[in-house]
């Protein structure tokens, strides 16, 4: 059964003191166990849209539902503990070791120490960090890629089925980024996660997403599967999709001339 896990209906957001709205009356559905990529340039409203899903930002108008429930009827604290959240800054707590960082939400939920220890090892294994080696390390002792892996493990710790990600790979070198991208896809399939991924990297969106929503000036100007979006007639969408296509063609020529 495919049903929408997250749905936005005519949602707008205008920040206090800002003239123009950041998001203007958008509708958006995210099917269960799918990966939706939100793409667009800086300031297009994609991060705001993401943050309205776990109430880090409150909509000015419209309705946001998660698993069929209007988020306004939910305690934002409870909602956020059910939804994983990972972002470019990662935000690992520097005074806590890897195990304690991963255990943040289970501790808030008062799991037993034994459950927590087992879950931490399971998660570290899952994101490719051998627990015996990494459990006791501190964030400052990790590489950027390792930090983001811990960030993802922490986001998923309480068995969240929904994962919101804001440019999670933006600060990583290309090789690490590539590895993490494919690991994310594997993880998403294996765990049946519903993922919303904000990125300005169209190639990343094309490679990972089941569906892509293109945003411009707070509105959604295209929303479809990667394949169909490549043929979308909207001028902005076409311009955006042209870039990876041109790159691919050029790379193919370079490879062919070798």
């Amino acid at each position: 059964m495919v049903r929408d896990v997250i749905a936005l209906e005519n949602v707008s957001k205008t920040y206090d003191g800002a003239g123009a709205p950041a998001v203007r009356g958008i509708d958006l559905d995210v099917a269960a166990e799918s990966l939706l990529a939100l793409v667009g340039e800086s300031g297009c409203g994609k991060t705001t849209t993401l943050k309205m899903m776990n109430r880090l930002v409150e909509p000015s108008a419209g309705r946001v539902t998660v698993a069929g429930e209007d988020v306004r009827s939910l305690d934002p604290i409870v909602l956020r503990r059910r939804i994983g959240y990972a972002f470019q800054g990662v935000g690992l707590f520097p005074h806590l070791d890897v195990a304690a960082n991963v255990a943040t939400v289970p501790r808030l939920l008062h799991w037993t120490e034994r459950e927590i220890a087992a879950r931490v090892d399971e998660l570290l294994e899952m994101v490719g960090l051998p627990p015996a080696q990494f459990r006791g390390r501190y964030p400052r002792e990790l590489s950027g890629g390792e930090q983001q892996r811990v960030g993802v493990a922490r986001a998923l710790a309480a068995r969240a089925k929904v994962l919101l990600m804001d440019e999670p790979f933006g600060a990583l070198d290309p090789i690490t980024r590539d590895a993490l991208q494919s690991e994310l896809k594997t993880l998403q399939r294996a765990l049946g996660l519903t993922v919303v991924l904000v990125t300005h990297d169209v190639t990343e969106a094309l490679l990972l997403a089941d569906r892509i929503a293109v945003m411009k000036d707070g509105a959604i100007v295209g929303h479809d599967t990667p394949g169909r979006l490549m043929a979308d007639p909207h001028p902005y969408v076409r311009a955006l999709m042209d870039m990876p296509r041109r790159h691919a063609e050029r790379i193919a020529r370079v490879a062919g001339s070798a």
Partner: protein, 500 residues
């Protein structure tokens, strides 16, 4: 070890214990109030600037003034006003460091904490506080060093501290006492600072052993420091009399004289030394001290606001009646000498100008400079003196009384407002100008007794009355000179008085 040092060190347990009690109490209350206030300020951004501004303003008040201001504000002297002033003083570093420490936490960490579903309180406790801890502790350590240092200034408001060494030592030129006080205060500040640092390291490293050691050291310090204060003298059943003194040599000497007289009569005594002039009077009226020596002219001018001079006996009679009527204070005995304000010149200079009386001075005044202590030029006697003799000096110089005599001897000023019992009058070969018009009121030294003290302490009145006429001008001057010029101790000077 010198006898002076041994004598000073005997006072150390009491002074250090009281200093510790005062500092630790003020710090504990200060931190307990400032931390929650700082947490509130983090959330209530609108209040932050005004509150920090008030805390900064308090900080700019000189420490001595802040302490002195607490006395009229609270209407009492001793531990409470000193502790409250120190609490206020400790607020700024704790407030400012806590607010900036929390504000400066990386916004990514706040974002992560919120995104993971932390409540604002969980965010504060699990993320912001642990990360701001070093900055907050730095603020607490700053406050600790300030408070321990500033507590030395609580002596004049009647709270015993290591400042007793410094105030009485400076006045009686006992530099051993001053050094003991400074070194003890510095050592106490360093020890407390080190303990706080150790607790911080233990917290950060989650080191139970270090935490235990720091806690034990803190308990040991508090027990050792406070035991003499909290347990002191409780076994002694004799009635206890608290004797006050102001902040000059003669007062310290007379305090000891009264103490030895009372001890001979079977009382226990406790000294509350180095009180500000009006603090001593207020303390007596409030029953915080049982007796002290004041001067009729001071009460006449400062408390009764009288500017006339009906003569020595009439002033004595009126002061006695006024004290009994308005404050229920009993003037028990006149010691027999006067310590009056008097205008003094070097003998040579007076002879050269042909000046013998204050009236003779009027013609020369415009070419002369006069030096006075901190209060003289604002006292009613000075206004009266100028009006009565038509004095118009070329220059007025305010200076510390201990420096006035040297300034006169060094020709930096031509005339000073001397105290008639000062030993330095003879030593510097000064001549006192006669007050032929009686513009300056008489300053008979009198022993005052607190309201109700006679009933509470039977035999006190009789013992104090035994001091009537016990000290004449000559003897007092010799005792003061013994301390101020000959480097003798206050105790020896007091013995000089009682042996007469």
């Amino acid at each position: 070890m010198s006898a002076t040092l041994v004598q000073q060190l005997e006072l150390l347990p009491d002074y250090l214990g009281r200093h510790l009690l005062l500092s630790v109490t003020a710090l504990a209350i200060g931190i307990a109030l400032s931390l929650p206030l700082a947490f509130a300020l983090v959330r209530l951004k609108a209040l932050r600037a005004p509150v920090l501004m008030v805390a900064s303003a308090v900080q700019t008040i000189p420490g001595l003034a802040l302490l002195a201001l607490m006395v009229p504000v609270l209407g009492r002297i001793g531990f409470l006003p000193a502790a409250i002033a120190l609490v206020l003083y400790s607020a700024l570093p704790v407030l400012r460091n806590t607010v900036t420490g929390i504000e400066d936490v990386d916004p990514d960490l706040i974002e992560a904490g919120r995104g993971l579903g932390m409540t604002p309180n969980q965010l504060l406790l699990k993320v912001q506080l642990p990360l701001a801890l070093p900055v907050i502790v730095a603020g607490i350590r700053t406050a600790t060093v300030w408070v321990v240092g500033l507590a030395t200034l609580s002596t004049p408001v009647g709270a015993t501290s290591l400042g007793n060494y410094i105030f009485s030592g400076l006045q009686t030129q006992n530099y051993t006492a001053v050094l003991v006080g400074c070194i003890a205060a510095a050592a106490l500040a360093l020890v407390l600072d080190g303990l706080i640092r150790a607790i911080e390291i233990a917290l950060v490293r989650r080191d139970r052993t270090l935490m235990g050691a720091a806690a034990l050291a803190t308990i040991a310090l508090l027990t050792a420091g406070l035991a003499p204060v909290l347990l002191g003298g409780s076994a002694d059943a004799r009635p206890r009399v608290v004797i006050g003194t102001k902040t000059f040599t003669e007062q310290y000497v007379l305090g000891r004289l009264i103490a030895s007289e009372l001890e001979a009569a079977g009382f226990r005594t406790q000294m509350l030394e180095s009180l500000g002039s009006t603090v001593a009077f207020d303390a007596l009226a409030a029953g915080r001290i049982d007796c002290y020596v004041d001067y009729t002219g001071t009460i006449w001018a400062n408390h009764m606001r009288r500017a006339d001079n009906p003569g020595r006996e009439a002033v004595m009679r009126d002061v006695t009646a006024w004290l009994a009527r308005t404050h229920a204070i009993e003037l028990v005995a006149a010691l027999g000498f006067e310590n009056a304000y008097a205008l003094a010149m070097t003998r040579d200079r007076a002879a050269a100008l042909g000046v013998r009386t204050i009236a003779d001075l009027a013609a020369h005044a415009p070419e002369l400079a006069i030096g006075g202590d901190y209060e003289f030029f604002s006292r009613p006697e000075w206004r009266d003196l100028r009006a009565r003799y038509g004095l118009a000096f070329g220059d007025l110089v305010t200076m510390d009384p201990t420096l006035m005599y040297a300034a006169l001897a060094g020709d930096e000023v031509d005339v000073i407002s001397a105290f008639s019992t000062d030993g330095r009058i003879a030593a510097f070969d000064l001549t006192l100008l006669e007050d032929t018009a009686g513009a300056l009121p008489p300053y008979d030294a009198v022993v005052l007794m607190a309201p109700g003290a006679a009933e509470r302490l039977p035999g006190l009145r009789a013992a104090l009355a035994g001091l009537a006429g016990a000290v004449d001008d000559e003897t007092m001057r010799a005792a003061n000179k013994h301390v101020d010029l000959d480097g003798g101790t206050v105790e020896d000077a007091a013995r000089l008085l009682s042996s007469r």
